[in-house]
Symmetry: C2
Subunit: 352 residues, 2 copies
């Protein structure tokens, strides 16, 4: 198979068919497919359809519950915890954000924790839901520890993602989506392929010692962004997502890569603020536009670079990829075709 540029709509229909065949209700299958393809449109291919085979495998093995009974597990008023019942992270995450948005409308601010969920893809997916409702969304999730503290020999915290979205009342929302390691594992692989050394603050070997060898680093652990700063924030994400929710934290979390056939027990935590409880829509829009304009108009010394708002690059890529299609490497096309055969879904002859 050769690499192709897939039509986003066709790719989404294909992914939805796979999820449906795996056992998800049609509307949840469509939503999960939309999440993956949307993430590809933003250019975040690591969190897009690349993971489709793994998600489908996890549903088929029973690790992920295709028809979860998502229900309130604790709390009340503006602070609640939902039990995800081992559902798809996308479906559980959507339910939690919907609840948080609803409660923020009622109370001005709301926080919803989640227990017994699974990998929910890009955290920005949920933060953006809040921004689409003219609210501010803060979304985080815990992952199994993969970062060591300076001097430490074992991982103590995950490179937990945090996403924050704010409505700008412009062409696209402000969307920050970061993980708390200095870099992701993909950068180590890339350095290895290029035969380059890596900076000493990227990764460690299996003993926790900083290394400039990308292969050692890939076998070892990541280092937190900003040393104790990223490490401390990562602890906070784990405390909010796993400790106070009654969920699991630290080594109790499972990895969907290393334990693909077990529920991951992932925790999430979402905070939503309703800025329209503080001022009129017109005033907020004017102030946000002023904030954005100040960034956009700030001069550069490096004329090859550009002052972009968080989320702006994703907005541009999505515009491009809606026209050019989503690039899929040959190996992925092959995997998807094999999966389609296995699940008796129409083969992907018509992705382009």
């Amino acid at each position: 198979m050769t690499p192709i540029h897939a039509n986003p709509d066709h790719l989404q229909a294909f992914a939805a068919a796979l999820f449906t065949q795996a056992g998800l209700p049609a509307h949840d299958a469509a939503f999960c497919a939309e999440c993956l393809v949307t993430t590809n449109l933003w250019g975040i291919d690591s969190h897009g359809v690349l993971r489709l085979p793994l998600y489908v495998r996890r549903v088929r093995s029973g690790a992920v519950n295709p028809r979860p009974n998502i229900r309130q597990a604790a709390g009340g008023r503006a602070l609640q915890v939902l039990d995800g019942d081992h559902g798809m992270g996308f479906v559980v995450g959507r339910a939690a954000m919907a609840r948080a948005i609803e409660l923020a409308g009622q109370f001005g601010v709301a926080a919803v924790g989640v227990v017994r969920s699974n990998h929910f893809g890009a955290a920005a997916l949920y933060a953006r839901m809040a921004a689409a409702q003219e609210r501010i969304g803060i979304v985080m999730s815990n992952v199994i520890p993969n970062m060591v503290a300076p001097g430490g020999a074992r991982p103590v915290a995950g490179n937990n993602p945090i996403a924050i979205a704010v409505p700008t009342f412009g062409e696209f929302p402000f969307v920050l989506d970061i993980s708390l390691s200095n870099v992701a594992g993909g950068k180590l692989l890339l350095a290895s392929q290029k035969g380059e050394k890596i900076p000493l603050d990227w990764a460690t070997d299996r003993q926790g010692r900083p290394t400039d060898d990308p292969d050692e680093g890939f076998k070892g652990f990541l280092l937190p962004v900003g040393g104790h700063k990223g490490l401390g924030l990562s602890y906070v994400v784990d405390i909010l997502s796993g400790v106070i929710t009654g969920g699991v934290f630290q080594q109790q979390i499972k990895s969907m890569y290393k334990q693909p056939d077990e529920p991951s027990l992932t925790g999430h935590f979402m905070i939503v603020l309703d800025p329209l409880a503080l001022m009129s829509r017109d005033e907020l829009a004017e102030r946000m536009q002023q904030f954005v304009a100040a960034i956009h108009s700030s001069p550069m010394w490096d004329e090859k670079m550009e002052m972009l708002l968080p989320g702006e690059l994703e907005h541009r890529r999505a515009q491009e990829r809606r026209v050019t299609g989503i690039p899929l490497p040959a190996s992925l096309v092959q995997d998807l075709r094999a999966l389609a055969d296995e699940l008796d879904v129409n083969p992907i002859t018509n992705l382009q």
Copy 2:
């Protein structure tokens, strides 16, 4: 004058006398003095009595209102904004955190923004108030832009502080208090004194170009921690503290160093969560102790280092300094004595 080790109680009484003489009500003067000396006890001398002369000057010049009428300016239910009426940041910050703690008790989570405040010292002061009430406190504040984006020629964001405190039900709370630059200006001065070069991700010259010269860097701007990660978080702090509150943001904020005789118009934003709305005190205590123990017991490859919880170093230093006293450099003692003379406060003969 020679350097001394000041008795914390005496130093606090002295600072309170200065604030009272400058016009603060006695209980507010005592609180501001306690904030500064407590911060010195943690070892954060940059935010301790070193700044006492400047704070006093600002009250005397009228930049800071010694008797503010702090009142609700916007919002309701669990999301409110307070108008700090140009009061001392400590006094305004305490009022905002008290309100947020109260509202979190009522709603489970609460957020309180603040407009027209001033420099409030260490953000941890307020986050710790929440932890002392067995709640989780998240505190941030905007400062005038002093960081450039990669490739940018002008500062677009402040190295805004974020502090997060969580009760551990142990000897000391979990307290993370970070700024969003890679390093603070003090590290540049230190490198300059030692004649050392600085890493290229610490600071830039006046044109925004990364520099390894600490003197150029000190005259120039800071770089955000983790590049776009710290920059994006800094934008978020400014949006929450200054944009949605109806306060000021970006270049509208004043610097208390560069404009010492003007109100700074600083904004704060505080979020408080009540974890006891989600589980019993016993269960939360057990889970937090488990979280802390896992960190403390994690092995080190570097035996000279130790696995510390955020806030643990400050706890140890405070224990030490309660015994040994707070080290004050000779120049500071001289400044404080001059200020005492000027304000007709008993001279600091008895600080030790």
